[in-house]
Each structure stands twice: as C-alpha cells, then as structure tokens.
C-alpha cells in the first residue's frame, strides 16, 4: 500500500509565513492546514489529525509553549510531532521548547530545504483508536 501524504498543521500569526510554509510543504505533496490564531490550534488538530504541528512560539493570543503543553496534555506520548518555530536559538530557548514537548526546534531565519527535509522525515501518525483526554 502506498504511503499516504503527510499531514502538516501550521500555526503562526504571521500570514506571510503561513502562506510560504504552505507553498513549501504542498510542493512536496503534503496536505496542509493552518491558522494564525494560537487559540484555534487545539480544536483544529483534533479535527485535522496532522502528523506534524509547526508552532510559532510568539503568537499574541496564545504562545506556542502554551499550545504545546495543551496538546501534550490532550495526547500524551501519542501527540503528533511538535516543531517549534522561533526567532530564538539560545540554549535557554532550546531547553525550554524541549521541556515543553517539542521534538524539534527551528530557529528563524530557517533554511527551507532543511525544514522540508525535517518535516518529510516525520513518521505518519497513527490516529486510530486515539481518544483525547478530557480536561
């Protein structure tokens, strides 16, 4: 059976960034959904069921760290792969995103090819028989 296309969810308050990332991932056959609002991520992820979630850390209505913690609380170890997108590349920033449940930390400005390679390396997520924890 052929592998299904990867499903990628992008959350960034910068519309241009969302559009560019969307073009980048769709060019490789990935299925992309996005939002510019951190508060929408949780419900959108539950509905879209992505393999990878790219989260901007500095979103005005809900920070990427808060969203990551919510998703980890919802899905635990079966959370889709979380990728932090941030302008900060210090050790403090990397340690914080790792502790918040992010699998990868991508610092801006990023290399589109490297980001594409990173996302393409994500294993398809098994969403079957996965129920969201009630909060």
């Amino acid at each position: 059976m052929a592998a299904r296309p990867l499903r990628v969810f992008i959350a960034d308050d910068n519309r241009d960034m969302v559009m560019l990332l969307g073009i980048l991932f769709r060019s490789e056959g990935m299925v992309v959904r996005s939002t510019t609002r951190g508060t929408e991520v949780r419900s959108a992820v539950a509905e879209f069921r992505p393999d990878a979630v790219l989260l901007d850390i500095a979103m005005p209505d809900r920070s990427g760290l808060e969203v990551a913690l919510e998703l980890i609380r919802d899905y635990g170890e079966r959370c889709p792969v979380l990728i932090a997108i941030t302008a900060h590349s210090s050790d403090v920033a990397r340690r914080l995103t790792a502790k918040s449940g992010f699998r990868h930390h991508v610092a801006k400005p990023y290399d589109p090819d490297a980001l594409l390679k990173l996302v393409a390396s994500v294993e398809p997520h098994d969403w079957r028989s996965l129920s969201i924890r009630s909060t």
């Binding site: 850390i57 913690l69 403090v92």
Partner: protein, 88 residues
C-alpha cells in the same frame, strides 16, 4: 486582583513556564521568547504591571521570581505549614 488583559496574557505565559519547570525562578529570556516582536512593548509594560502588583519580583536583570501571590494567581496551591503539635 484586577489584572489588565496584557498582564493576564503574560501571567498565562509564566504559568506555561511553571508547567515546564515547577520552580519559582525563571529566566526572563524564556518569558520574552513568547512575546511577538510587534507586541513587545505592550508585554513589557504588562510584565512591569505584574512586578508592581507583587505577583513577581526581579531577582536580577535576567531572572524573575514568582511570589506567593503570583503562585496563587497561576493556580499553584501553596501548602500551609502544619501547626506544631501541642504538648500536653
């Protein structure tokens, strides 16, 4: 305690830091990386508001500390000291 929307946002971000590492002292850098550049001044003012309302206190230029009131504001229950047993 009345908090402005900005102060509530920054307090929520501090709660996220506390959820990541349950300790009172945190790097200001870790908090500020959650601030979108275009709202940086607004959040900086809100941070000042939290200092003024004694929910946090500056340890030094890089580190801030949650006060007891601050811990309460982010929903962390502070255990009350047990009363000493009274000797008969």
């Amino acid at each position: 305690m009345d908090l402005t929307p900005g102060e509530k946002t920054v307090l929520r971000q501090i709660r996220a830091l506390y959820a990541t590492e349950a300790r009172r002292e945190h790097q200001l850098k870790a908090l500020m990386m959650q601030w979108p550049p275009i709202h940086h001044e607004t959040y900086k003012r809100a941070y000042g508001g939290l200092l003024a309302k004694l929910l946090i206190q500056g340890v030094d230029a890089q580190v801030f500390r949650l006060t007891e009131a601050g811990l309460g504001a982010i929903g962390v229950a502070i255990p009350k000291p047990r009363p000493l047993p009274v000797k008969a």
